[in-house]
Symmetry: C2
Subunit: 226 residues, 2 copies
DNA sequence: TTGAACTCACTGGTAGGACCACTTAACGGT
DNA sequence: ACCGTTAAGTGGTCCTACCAGTGAGTTCAA
């Protein structure tokens, strides 16, 4: 009953983890920058290096950082990564995983597009338009794929539902990683056409049209996989 | 160019992690059992305890095990846990998180019910029926909530899409954890009624009816939150 | 001058041993 | 028969030394 041990149970490891998360979220440690070296953090916070290491490992598993031997700990902030790990373990077969991811996208993304049509901001629409323009003139297939993903991510953000946004981002990235069937050149131009139509529906603030345009786009793109 | 260092880059930590995952997945380490003590594993595999610890930490972050001070490392196998961590960080506000999770459920789960109606097996239907019966006679609210979640999980499994199943499981568990507004007694009996109707649609292999019944159920249950 | 190899000072990764903190169950005194 | 003590097990932390990649600066030969 002595007040020396109230329910304040907090372990050094948890403290370190929370501190780091806080630093990342408030922008002190921006995406793309590196954390201080493990030894420095340990001394600065009067902790063992082991504790700092464990915190870093946890951050890595949660997709917040990427640890690179000989380099350092880079802030990546990719919340979709843990989901990708889970799905890769649950569905070891690339083909089946892609199939189920496609099904999930087909269910989620048209709805996101419809919501985005209602909630879109001028700023968000400008960004989408810029993405479309960039995709039109992009010749490199690799960068085209990145732009394509960014377009869909941006729509998910506009919709304002972070739960669905994270889910979409996960399956989209997973699809991009595991498909050798990367887009052909004609695939890019076709994708651009669909993107333009989706963007038009968003600008018109027409949910039904956005939903339909997104559905058509996905069915066309995902159909290439079968 | 010497063949002594081909692309076999494998670190002891990765090896340990892979070994443990394999042991868990092939059933050698069943859910509910405990891993050997860290010191034992370290000696058995001729590794440092640090390495074993890091592997265990990673497994914990991925939802495969639960580490408990003074007790041991228990195999839990809850793939939804990483997603929950991510969403709790992205949406710190309980209220907003619940709202978006509800929206996600409303989108995903009716579709899962419809698919389950087509793909349901006799065995799966029996399990669902047993769950319904148990819920009807359960008086404890805590256990009722568990049964409720299990019912929805079972339907997701029947639908055969693990991607959507994991997503649903995540948002459902998250909802149960963060709501103080736990079900009242009348809520349980009402839920049971909906469950029976959903089950009937599944038995009848009627996708449209299943989708509709699930939608009604969710709208009723989630409506209590607002 | 140029350029390629080397050196060295970082980074994270691993090792081993000691000790702390929590849990449980067996033990022993009352 | 009860309850506090003890001891042995577990994970948690620390320290210190060393191994292993990386990159930049230096050196030395062409």
């Amino acid at each position: 009953m002595s007040p020396t041990k109230p329910p304040v149970r907090s372990s050094p490891a948890d403290d370190a983890l929370r501190k780091l998360i806080a630093l990342i979220e408030d922008g002190t440690l921006a995406t793309g920058t590196f954390l201080p070296a493990e030894r420095q953090l340990a001394e600065r916070w009067s902790l063992s290096r082991v504790v700092v290491r464990e915190a870093a490992r946890k951050l890595e598993q949660r997709g917040l950082v990427s640890i690179r031997h000989g380099i350092g700990v880079e802030v990546t902030n990719n919340p979709a990564l843990p989901v990708q790990h889970t799905l890769e373990r649950l569905l070891p077969s690339d083909k089946e995983r892609l199939r189920q991811c496609a099904q999930a996208r087909l269910l989620i993304e048209p709805e996101l597009a419809a919501t985005a049509a209602v909630r879109a901001t001028p700023k968000g629409l400008r960004a989408l338009k810029a993405n479309c323009v960039a995709l039109a003139s992009e010749t490199d297939l690799e960068r085209s794929a990145v732009l394509d993903i960014a377009f869909h991510d941006a729509i998910a953000d506009l919709a304002g539902n972070k739960v669905l946004a994270v889910m979409l981002r996960s399956v989209a990235q997973l699809g991009r990683l595991s498909r050798e069937v990367t887009l052909k050149r004609f695939g890019v131009t076709r994708a651009h056409g669909y993107h333009v139509r989706i963007l038009a529906a968003l600008i018109a603030a027409d949910p039904a049209a956005a939903r339909k345009a997104m559905k058509l786009h996905l069915e066309a793109a995902l159909g290439d996989l079968s």
